[in-house]
Amino acid sequence: MSDAMSVHPEVVTTHDVHHDEHHVHHHKETFITKYVFSQDHKTIGKQFLITGIIWAIIGGLFSVLFRLQLGYPDQHFQILETVFGKWAEGGQIKPEFYYALVTMHGTVLVFFVLTAGLSGTFANILIPLQLGARDMASPFLNMLSYWFFFLASVIMLSSLFISTGPAASGWTVYPPLSALGQASEGSKLGMDMWLVSMAMFIVSSLLGGLNYISTILNMRTKGMSMTRMPLTIWAMFFTAVLGVLSFPVLLSGAILLLFDRNLGTSFYLSDIVVNGQILPNEGGSAILFQHLFWFLGHPEVYIILLPAMGMVSEILSVNSRKPIFGYMAMLGSLFAICILAFLVWAHHMFVTGLNPLLGSIFVLLTLLIAVPSAIKVFNWLTTLWRGNIRFTPATLFAIGFVSLFISGGLTGIFLGNSTIDIHLHDTMFVVAHFHIVMGVASFFGMLAGVYHWFPKMFGRYLNSTLGYIHFWVTIIGAYLIFWPMHYQGLAGMPRRYLDKSSWVSFTQFGELDKMITVVSIIVFAVQLMFVFNFFYSIFKGRKVTTQNPWGANTLEWTTPIRPGHGNWEGEIPEVHRWPYDYGKDGREFIPQTEPIGENESKH
């Protein structure tokens, strides 16, 4: 009760501050237009972030549930039956339910958390603020982008509650398994809902992406040439380009799959006898879907990763009090990654019967992507070198990102080489690889961003002691979970096996699986602690008292502590220099708004 009492006055003052700032713009805002159907990019960003957090809790919880099954296949957890009923009869997860959990975990985290929650959040919040724009090119489309995402979320969430369960054919939903209700419970109504939800999601991401691109190209403030943009904005730009060019391909793939499921077409189906029933479809190609899926699916990896790279570059530079090393090289490597991202999709398909010659071209292009990735790593390392590093929670997460990106990137060199992929394809090695490089690393980038820009978003700080605990438990946990998992893959253990007891070859890792399960529960609990810290600090965190708490150069820190809709009260500041003049000519930092001095040295 006392807590509630003390929240109250604070909330009132928040409103007051907002009100003061807002009278400049002369339009009345109701609760609905300000917090629900808001067209303010900052509010939309927060909506993406909070929706993403809720999805992350759901998706993370799913992983804890199936880790319980993997670690303790013989144990009965009564609570599971209480909560999930027929899906976990006798306290043991049923195979159908296990595969539904795995599928939803992947879908939710890849699309709803790390695409919408990561790039949706930070593209929205940072693009106008760091470019010096009052809002997005089209605030209305931007709002629609969130609400399409919301609609997608509602559909996906409701598919969890139907009697045949949600989609259960893996997050890649390969047909024929995903096309035939006879082949799997999850391929009944749940799969249609998955496809419709993804269609909504794609609309959302296209609306957002087009908006980000046009904002970046057209709405930069005076003096903000493209090469004076912070790397965060460049990363968001390439992310948006990737999304706009590749998501429509997934949409077409999804629509054809809907046709195959409901209208009797044969795009993906041929020569099938399922459950004793001979299907009439002939002449389709199941592999076609994989091409369409991975034409998005691989760029998607970079859609997830690039924003994290951009934010990490910015955060490492600010907190090392040193310019980012090799700005143009960073830019060039982002560009190279963006181009190559479109040319490597078939490396997910080396063992589908792909023509070996075609496969060899994809090997070459895939391993080529390691070059720009290596450049980025070396540049981050050199940025830290001879800096004066402040370990804020954001910095720690950024350093953690680099460490994980190295570890996960190097195992990519194994999998990208088709010869080794023959052995490692679809084993636990793959699971370990992409969780480290795409899952956990991107999460680290996202968390670094949340810790770093939280003061800008809410005018308060996150509790940093909790932040430190969060970081240390998460990075130690992430390595404990995923490092030994590579050995399971080297032993040839296939992914998506929920119980190895019937096998001779895969039973040697029982103890390891238990350890991984225990650690993943701890890591999940610590994420809940972060979520608590997040919501608690929105209302009761330590207040930000200075405009530029991190001593950063970029424009978002020239706005008021709690900027209103429109961001700057007076005129938008003019930009005179690149954003990375840290430690130049003996000065700690020189904001972008400061004109070049007469005696200033050149870089």
Binding site: A370, V371, N388, S403, F414, N417, H423, G492, R496
Partner: protein, 353 residues
């Protein structure tokens, strides 16, 4: 009850952590935020260094614990190449891993904030950047070169003397077909599939080549040191013929046959001695998620000598005879006495008409 206690302990632990965290924030404000921040900075800098050292020891320990649990000697000729490629890649990437991780955490520790240090304004250095573009490019060229050399060896055409086995995946098991004496797999059409009529693969009985084809489930026999070409298909959804001990893998796609070939080098019996495990068998693991029974989609491969194999196959009845027991004993007898050559042209002529 147990669950309740765990939840209670977690909640309590969380509350305590939270109170400490909140208190430390107040203390920081009282003592001067700058001072508290610097102290936290020192602690985290030290932790980063400790993490590096403990982490590297952990990497070593993990390897010691688990290296015995991964697969031993590859049991096929292709497996040898794949393992070699794996170890070449491992050597190069491990060096990069060690150097970059040490740099990362060591720099973070060494250059932690200090009042004495001025950060070095160092925005770019073209020479350095060229060096670390070219060096990885060369390393990767080496890896691509080796990789593709082995890749084309492995995926090239099977030797002419290779034996052929057809593998068909279904929910949730494996079916095999041996071409019999003629060495040719007869034609099939999926709409003829009818297990009730003893035609699980949809073989066309008109096709003479089908008459000696042997159909089996769950267990595949191969001859040691004899190349084998697998013709792979699926009935319902995509499966994958995963052969971890042979390091081979190929998807089984309905409607699109795929192939792979390799030469088994070690018999099952030899492998039992090698591993010291009397229950050892080569397993076929489905590697492509195929529905609720995916976990148990297991097949067995028996690698044996030519004599053992011949004796085993001789005991199997062609599926044609299983499916057509009454109408064909006469023709069959002729078949076995006069040989296939006399009968086949006639049968082929019939199917063509």
């Amino acid at each position: 009850m147990q669950t309740f206690f765990i939840v209670a302990i977690l909640t309590l632990g969380f509350l305590i952590t939270f109170q400490i965290a909140k208190a430390s924030e107040y203390v920081a404000v009282l003592r001067g935020e700058e001072k508290a921040r610097k102290q936290a900075n020192k602690i985290n800098g030290f932790m980063l260094l400790a993490f590096l050292i403990v982490g590297l020891i952990g990497v070593y320990y993990c390897n010691e614990e688990l290296k015995g649990k991964i697969l031993g000697t590859p049991a096929s000729d292709h497996g040898v190449l794949i393992d070699r490629m794996l170890y070449i890649t491992l050597a190069i990437t491990f060096i990069v891993f060690i150097i970059t991780q040490i740099c990362l955490f060591w720099f973070a520790y060494k250059y932690q904030e200090s009042d004495k240090r001025k950060p070095y304004y160092y925005p770019h250095n073209n020479k350095l950047e060229v060096i670390w573009t070219v060096v990885p490019a060369i390393a990767l060229t080496v890896l691509v070169g080796f990789g593709l050399f082995y890749w084309f060896k492995i995926t090239g055409d099977a030797p002419k003397d290779a034996m052929v086995v057809e593998v068909t995946g279904k929910q949730f098991g494996w079916e095999f077909r041996y071409p019999g004496k003629d060495g040719v797999l007869g034609k099939k059409y999926y709409k003829n599939i009818d297990p009730a009529k003893n035609n699980p693969l949809g073989q066309l009985w008109d096709d003479e080549a089908n008459h000696d084809d042997v159909w089996l489930e769950q267990e595949m026999h191969l001859v040691v040191n004899k190349p084998v070409k697998l013709v792979i298909g699926a009935k319902d959804v995509i499966h994958d013929v995963g052969l971890p001990h042979f390091r081979m893998k190929m998807d089984a796609v309905p409607g699109t046959p795929t192939t792979m070939w390799f030469t088994p080098k070690i018999t099952t019996k030899e492998m039992r001695d090698k591993t010291g495990n009397p229950n050892f068998v080569y397993e076929i693991a489905c590697d492509q998620m195929c529905g609720k029974g995916h976990t148990g989609m297991r097949g067995v491969v028996v690698v044996e000598t030519q004599e053992e194999f011949d004796a085993w196959l001789a005991g199997k009845k062609p599926q044609y005879l299983v499916a057509n027991p009454v109408s064909t004993p006469d023709t069959n007898k002729k078949d076995s006495t006069t040989g296939n050559t006399t009968v086949r042209p006639v049968a082929n002529g019939i199917t063509k008409n």
